[in-house]
Symmetry: C2
Subunit: 321 residues, 2 copies
């Protein structure tokens, strides 16, 4: 009897990479996390991925002849059909890199590439919070904010393949400048760095907060603000209340436009601050939805797959969506 | 040779109704506009529609045996599958009316119902500004603001069938109260009544504007503000500049989330003020889109079918989408 086929998959972040093998049923047969610094050359990165996958296969007694293909998830602007990555925030100098072809040559396997938020959405729709939904949105809230929008299991890509950029919807017309050039984007108001920045601002204004001690001279992070909020620090609670208000507008706008059945939240801020953010966020969304929106209609939940959402979504590409 | 089949169709607004017959190719063979006051009973309205269609058929030498079915477009919350209208802004007391069945019984024909913005989107995608697009959004800007979102020619309905309510996305968190109960909705900032209200406010503040003379004691309308702006009235120009800013955020948010190929604008405000609004709106959208959005990517155009978009979309329902 021939050995069952497996999908090789990887999810490449700004500093960390996750590679693995997943079967047709969505079981992770083997996985490995390793540090992968940003700013690599395409060939170098493809070769690194290949090395890690080969070693992991050998260690896990997975024969290379079992591997049906590679699914690759990463941040960036890309055309999934041609497999060209136009630009990637983690690989600053990449321009129009035919990365799917590079991976195929390096691994001798068919390959598929996908934007990280879309891959995570596909993973959650397959094995997590989006199972059985026709209209599903996965939102990643971390260093940045992005989303993957699915209808009947297919990614809504849009005309230019750039759909889902909820982080760059305008929430506060006169809000802070965003890295994209616009003012008042959700990402500039509610992603991890925005939370940290508001804490920094409060300290500079001379406000008393235990965030000062928690940071003890180091750069302030959203995680420190969460810690302080759990200790009932007023400044931290204020910052999170504002964050939840902005996120509530962003999510309510998505619900108003798209009426998804489930919105699943992933990413460091959403997961790390879930105990502080999730329930207030649901209330904030309810306040911002019109009275005609059935407030029970869209469930707002945490990602069920956590950091494995993207890996499973990448595997899904190999098995066909 | 049997006579060719035709679709009966109607588009029922708050005060005006449009009924007609459309062939498979999308030619309007006959049409009639008549006043249809709001606040009717369901049976009364269904019977009125039937009467007008029978008379129009007779006048136009269309045999009733040629009529393949009826497509019905109107504002409101509805379930298109079961054909139940939950609520309708023009028929205030309607609750859970099985209107599709009523129409079928009244006319002896299969019937389909659709929300007006979705019907207009289907019409434009069939015979107007959305031909050949995979991702298409039609936005109606008039007394209210709503939209129909299509992917591959199918309406994005969402989980509760309420998708497309761009008019109730939050644009200005501390903006004016909207009829839906939220603050700062696009509709409360940029629909016809909002434009008129800002003119009224300016006059009450004692600002000099020819809108005062144009209205000569009557209720101010958006149309009067357009007239004044064409005469270079400063107050009117300011009001429209603000309106365009809000609309620009609303449209940019749609582009950022959905990346449609074309956004077509219909409705009294968009069409009546096109000479003043369209080009500034394109610029406002460009300012609000992130630098990574290809600004040439989404074309923002006027509806090509004007007041016939909904009628043709209703006919499309009969021929199958």
């Amino acid at each position: 009897m021939p050995l069952p086929q497996v999908a090789a998959c990887c999810d490449i972040g700004g500093t960390k990479a996750l590679v693995g093998f997943v079967d047709r049923q969505g079981n992770i047969l083997a996985q490995e996390r390793y540090l992968s610094p940003s700013g690599r050359e395409p060939v170098e990165l493809a070769s690194e991925v290949a090395t890690h996958l080969h070693e992991l296969a050998a260690r896990s007694r997975i024969g290379w002849q079992q591997v049906a293909g590679l699914g690759y998830s990463t941040a960036g602007m890309m055309d999934v059909e041609s497999g060209i990555i136009f630009a990637s925030p983690n690989q600053g100098t990449w321009r129009d890199v035919p990365f799917k072809n590079l991976l195929q040559e390096e691994l001798g396997l068919p390959a598929w590439i996908e934007m990280d938020a879309n891959a995570a959405a596909l993973g959650e729709a397959w094995k997590g919070a989006g199972i059985g939904t026709k209209y599903f949105v996965y939102i990643i809230i971390g260093t940045g904010i992005g989303s993957g929008i699915l209808v009947s299991g297919k990614v809504w890509r849009g005309w230019r393949g750039t759909a889902g950029e909820i982080g760059h919807t305008t929430i506060e017309p006169d809000g802070p400048l965003c890295s994209c050039g616009n003012f008042g984007c959700l990402e500039a108001l509610a992603a991890g760095p925005a939370i940290a920045l508001r804490a920094q601002g409060a300290i500079q204004q001379g406000r008393k907060t235990i965030i000062t001690e928690l940071s003890s001279g180091h750069e302030i992070t959203a995680e420190m603000v969460f810690k302080a909020a759990r200790l009932k620090d007023l400044v931290a609670l204020e910052i999170l209340s504002k964050t939840v208000e902005y996120l509530g507008i962003g999510l309510a706008n998505v619900i108003t436009l798209l009426s998804p059945q489930v919105i699943a939240l992933g990413g460091g801020v959403a997961v790390g601050g879930a105990d502080l953010l999730l329930e207030p966020l649901r209330q904030s969304v309810a306040r911002r939805c019109g009275s005609w929106v059935d407030l029970q209609s869209t469930r707002i939940v945490l990602s069920e797959l956590g950091e494995y959402a993207g890996l499973l979504g990448a595997a899904r590409l190999v098995w066909g969506v």
